[in-house]
Amino acid sequence: MSNTTAAATPGAFQFPEIYNFPPFFTRQPNESTWQEQRRQWCDLILAYYKHNRLYSLTLAEAITEPPFTNRQIHRSLRVDVLRELVDDLVKQGNASWTGAKNAKDSCLVLWRKPEVWASMIYQWANERGLFNTVLTVFELANGDDAVGQEFHNLDSVTLRRALDVLQSQGKAQLFVGTSDEDMGVKLFV
């Protein structure tokens, strides 16, 4: 399982068998059954979002589309169940609520944790000798040097989270520009 594969993953997403099992879309009342069900849902959500390079979800819209709707079997996950699943993902560090506080209607899906993105970026900067130079955040993720890297064209909100991690670890300094795209960053040892 290499960590320097190209960013784009080819082919259609392979759904697990459980995806075609109608009870998968009903919140199971039996507690131990639910534990297994939610484990499979969390895995599916992260795998699907990673495969399709999606970074955020708005609950009310998401439930009408795959993976939360399976048109073949005419089943959809209910929005309150999805909310419960996102809460689980938040607990394990794989999601983060965005939008209005306590509204819980949109979130980031962190199929790769910001800490992991952070260390990838830092390692790349080390290899390219980019320490102690100021780059724009935009250039860092979208410039020519980033082509072929996992974080190439990374979603800006997620990228910002990763850089925040580096800053808190004392490995980077962010400079506020007039907008997020103008924001600068300097990485150092």
């Binding site: 960590n3 099992f21 009342p29 131990s32 297994e36 499979q40 895995d43 394990q92």
Partner: protein, 229 residues
């Protein structure tokens, strides 16, 4: 002798008080069961002494419910068997009272007698499901394990079941079919699919998946396999 009689009458009145009859209620506390037995025994002593009590039926309480329980079992045992081993309590009550014709039995007395089946080692049992449904069951054939394996076999043959499907197969009341499906679900043998078409029960594929996962040593790992560092 007069002193003993008046003392006995005083005790009899206390035994017939609301507090004492509370001890016989279904939801009496554990410690109250001992007290209830002592109360019953005492009533029996009073009867033996030939003491009159203002409320005759309650004085016979010690013996009345036991005798009623035996009579009920004799009468209902065959009926319960014919109905496949389980009958809703209300149905049993109606049937029995209709047979008694004139000296009808109060519902509370009926229930109290049924509660004694197990203690008297009679062949029927009173059972309360979590939803509150009360049934009389054949003590020998109505165990949970039997129900679970039967329902599992039906699903293997006929596919996923709704409560009305099961009621048709077992020729039983719809509420009873529901209780059986919920019992299997609580035991983890089944899982449910809720849709506009209603509720349908499947064999629990999640339990099977969990077993495979545990066998592989994944257990409760929070980090999904695909997330590599």
């Amino acid at each position: 002798a007069n002193e003993i009689v008046s003392m006995a009458e005083h005790i009899a009145t206390q035994l017939n008080s609301p507090a004492a009859s509370k001890l016989h209620r279904k939801d009496a506390a554990e410690s109250d069961e001992d007290n209830a037995e002592r109360v019953d025994a005492f009533r029996q002593y009073l009867l033996d002494l030939g003491i009159d009590s203002p409320v005759t039926r309650n004085t016979a309480g010690a013996v009345f419910h036991d005798e009623l329980a035996r009579e009920l079992c004799d009468y209902l045992e065959n009926y319960v068997s014919q109905c496949g081993g389980t009958v809703a309590l209300v149905d049993a009550y109606c049937l029995y009272n209709r047979a008694r014709e004139f000296s009808l039995v109060y519902p509370s007395d009926f229930v109290q007698a049924c509660e004694k089946f197990e203690a008297l080692q009679l062949p029927l049992r009173l059972r309360e499901y979590p939803s509150g449904l009360l049934v009389l069951e054949d003590a020998s054939s109505a165990s949970d394990a039997l129900i679970i394996s039967r329902v599992g076999a039906y699903i293997a043959s006929f596919g996923p079941l709704t409560a009305s499907d099961l009621a048709a197969i077992e020729d039983c009341a719809l509420t009873l079919a529901e209780e059986r499906l919920w019992l299997c679900e609580r035991a983890g043998a089944l899982c449910r699919d809720e849709s506009v078409e209603g509720v349908r029960f499947y064999a629990n594929a999640f339990a099977a998946a969990a077993a495979v996962g545990a066998g592989r040593g994944e257990g409760d790992v929070q980090e999904p396999l695909w997330q590599y560092i």
